[in-house]
């Protein structure tokens, strides 16, 4: 079995079979990660560059661990800012790195489309670790793995994503991926933080009413509210946000979803988008998401890189 995709740029046009294969492979790596010796030789001799133009210690560490567990050689390249600000173009950066003979690039960038752009200027396999507000596919894959582990199947599963959908690449990747997998996905937040043209996301329901979004949901995912959105006039105040869209135990109970799996891509603003008792409660999968992140990224690296050659053996 192998993937139809050559790079992981996003989940937008990734077929169901590929998503299923990645999740099934990740399942196998969860087992590897629970062993005493957590290493497999899959990526031996391969060099992976973690190219991070935007600070994200968590995602970078997760990828780095995944690469090391697969015995790959890992190089980290961090550089804040765009081509314009840095005075070196993205193309020059990537060409320099490619000249060092690399096999895979994991890229995080504040501009949407950069991973696709890299596929045009290098032969390496590109894995998107977040581009602008566009996509963050490995996050959505690890989210789906976490949901599937808890509830068995994604088809028909009611998932509510609450918060700043507009600026969220996590939400977008989940919208594409969960729609492909046939989940009953709801997104919820203030009207100004929902993309104005939601019809593009087929199979996704949106509402401003938190109670409707939560009703009988099996998974509730809160997204981080960036405090600076308030100053750009997108919503009146943190206080009002918390009152209308904050996830609390009472809201969950009222909507009949006290048993819902609680997720958050982190970092959490405790007491704003989600209360501490919910975030740390018995149904919280927030730390499981982190663990699954490594397994999922191992699966992606394995299937796009080493997996291809090893599968032939």
């Amino acid at each position: 079995m192998s993937l139809t995709i050559k790079h992981l740029l996003g989940l937008r046009s990734v077929p169901k079979e590929d998503i299923t294969l990645i999740l099934d492979t990740a399942k196998g790596f969860q087992e590897v990660l629970s062993r005493d010796i957590k290493k497999v030789p899959t990526l031996r001799g391969q060099t992976v560059v973690n190219l991070f133009f935007e600070n994200s210690t968590r995602t970078r560490i997760s990828f780095e661990l995944a690469e090391k567990r697969l015995s790959g050689d890992t190089v980290n390249f961090s550089s804040a800012g765009s081509s314009v600000k840095k005075g070196e173009t993205l193309k020059d950066t990537i060409r320099n790195i490619e000249a060092m003979k690399i096999d895979m690039v994991v890229v995080r960038h504040q501009s949407a489309g950069v991973p696709k752009y890299l596929t045009e200027c290098t032969n390496a396999v590109i894995i998107n670790a977040g581009d602008g507000s566009n996509e963050h596919p490995t996050q959505a894959l690890l989210d789906m793995l976490t949901m599937r582990d808890r509830w068995g199947a994604l088809k028909g599963l009611k998932v509510a994503i609450v918060g700043d959908i507009l600026h969220s690449r996590v939400a977008r990747s989940n919208m594409w991926g969960l729609a492909t997998m046939g989940a009953d996905l709801w997104v919820c937040g203030p009207e100004t933080l929902i993309p104005q043209y939601m019809q593009e996301f087929k199979g996704v329901t949106y509402t401003n009413n938190l109670d409707k979004a939560l009703k009988n949901a099996k998974v509730v995912m809160a997204l981080r509210i960036q405090l600076e959105r308030q100053s750009t006039g997108l919503f009146p105040s943190i206080n009002e946000y918390r009152a209308r869209w904050g996830i609390t135990a009472q809201r969950l109970e009222k909507s009949g979803c006290s048993d819902a799996l609680i997720m958050h891509p982190g970092p959490i603003n405790r007491g704003i988008e989600i209360t501490t008792d919910v975030a740390d409660g018995p149904n919280s999968a927030i730390l499981t998401q982190v663990t699954n992140g490594v397994a999922t990224r191992m699966a992606v690296l394995y299937l796009l890189g080493g997996g291809r050659e090893h599968a032939a053996e």
């Binding site: 937008r12 765009s82 081509s83 314009v84 173009t89 993205l90 193309k91 960038h109 501009s111 949407a112 489309g113 950069v114 696709k116 752009y117 602008g132 507000s133 566009n134 996509e135 507009l166 600026h167 969220s168 690449r169 977008r172 993309p195 104005q196 043209y197 939601m198 019809q199 593009e200 996301f201």
Partner: protein, 427 residues
């Protein structure tokens, strides 16, 4: 410009709607002037151009170009821009004032006119409405007019202070100076990198909503109505803007409008490829807008096709989509794109194309061009309407290779360009 010897254009189909010429007519040029037109002229000339199967049309006029000089000569100069125009069959261009320094006084106007003297085609400057395009103080509109500008424009942005815009319009009524409006409300467009719609929602890009354009079209129509000024709406890109202009024309206002080839051919769906050469301002819109613009070109609501030729260096455009500057080149593709997508598809007639690309821009700018008639200056474009070619930016004369039409297969091309009786381009 040097004077040439006599040229006889033989056997071509002359299309000059202003004086209702449409048929196989020969044209004799002498001393930079159209000496004679007539059927099967049997006159000796220094040069005979065989135009059999070709359209012979009044030299094309592109009233919205950016030639970047002074200040950004790495992107384009008046010389290279003029070469690009000649290659596209364009004999006159009007150039926008957002150079460095901005064209807001007589001296810069004279500098441009001086540089234009050696150019292959006619280059006419447009002055800024406000000092340094800052929207605070009026520029020396009257002095610039005397020095040779054909219009004023704040192109690149709107004059946001409605009071200043009203003053500008009233001031311009004195000499009947044309005001070209770039319509964009920055409160709505700020941070936007593409059309606001399905695709921007999908890709997570900040969008530029259609109403950012339409609000300013509506405002400028209202101020023009109030002051009696003559306004021209630049680069119309939305259905709503078309409707506002149509209504204003119905009210007999002195309003004209232009659009660019990319607005009647491309939509924002293409942005999923993140190609910076599809990024311009206003941005590519939707199918309904493209359809409305084509209809407006046909029914007279939009008067002119202008390219908004906006060259950038390869390095400027080869980076993150949201970081690249706005703008695309257009001079070398406008004839081919217009023929292929409008004339050959029978959306407009060839006569209408000549109106949109020559007759009307001449009338709007009040310049004595746009017709093939005895005694007129000999600015003539000869077009091969069926010549097949593929857009290849490497072959452009423009320094800007940033075309949104790269690789597009077109049918029809300018093959001879004559300015002031001189052949400035031929292939």
């Amino acid at each position: 410009m040097q004077q040439n010897n006599t040229i006889l254009i033989k056997g071509g189909r002359v299309i000059s709607p202003k004086n209702r010429l449409n048929g196989v007519i020969d044209v004799l040029i002498a001393n930079g002037t159209i000496e004679k037109t007539g059927k099967a002229l049997n006159i000796a000339a220094d040069r005979v151009v065989d135009a059999k199967g070709m359209y012979v049309v009044p030299g094309l006029i592109d009233m919205h170009c950016h030639f970047r000089e002074p200040g950004f000569e790495e992107k384009e100069t008046i010389q290279t821009g003029a070469q690009a125009a000649a290659a596209g069959g364009v004999t006159t261009v009007a150039v926008m004032p957002n150079t460095n320094p901005v064209v807001d006084n007589e001296t810069v106007v004279k500098f441009i006119m001086d540089r234009a003297r050696d150019a292959a085609i006619r280059v006419l400057p447009i002055g800024a409405i406000s000092h340094n395009q800052e929207g605070a103080v009026l520029s020396e509109i009257g002095l610039m007019r005397r020095a040779g500008i054909v219009a004023v424009s704040e192109d690149g942005k709107s004059v946001m202070d409605s009071g200043l815009m009203k003053n500008a319009m009233r001031y311009c009524t004195m000499d009947d100076t044309l005001i070209i409006s770039h319509c964009e409300d920055p409160g709505l467009s700020k941070g936007g990198v593409m059309n606001e719609g399905r695709i921007s929602s999908m890709l997570g890009f900040k969008g530029i909503p259609k109403i950012a354009e339409e609000i300013m079209v509506a405002r400028d129509i209202m101020i023009a109505r109030d002051t009696g000024a003559r306004i021209h709406i630049a680069h119309v890109s939305t259905k709503g803007a078309v409707e506002l202009i149509r209504a204003a024309k119905k009210d007999k206002m002195r309003i004209t409008a232009e659009t660019a080839p990319h607005y009647f051919t491309l939509t924002d769906d293409i942005i999923v490829n993140f190609n910076p050469n599809h990024k311009m301002n206003p941005p590519l819109r939707n199918k309904e807008d493209v359809e409305a613009i084509i209809k407006a070109l046909a029914d007279g609501t939009i008067d002119a096709i202008a390219t908004d030729h906006a060259p950038h260096t390869i390095d400027d455009k080869d980076m993150e989509f949201d970081q690249t500057p706005n703008g695309v080149v257009g001079l070398e593709t406008s004839v081919g794109v217009t023929l292929t997508h409008l004339v050959h598809k029978k959306k407009i007639t060839i006569e209408r194309m000549v109106e949109l690309m020559s007759v009307n821009p001449a009338a709007i700018l009040k310049i004595d061009h746009g017709q093939i008639a005895q005694g007129k200056r000999a600015d003539i474009t000869i077009i091969d309407p069926s010549k097949p070619w593929t857009v290849d930016s490497k072959k452009f004369r423009s320094l800007g290779k940033n075309t949104p039409f790269e690789g597009m297969k077109l049918r029809g091309k300018a093959v001879v360009t004559i300015v002031n009786g001189n052949v400035v381009y031929e292939e």
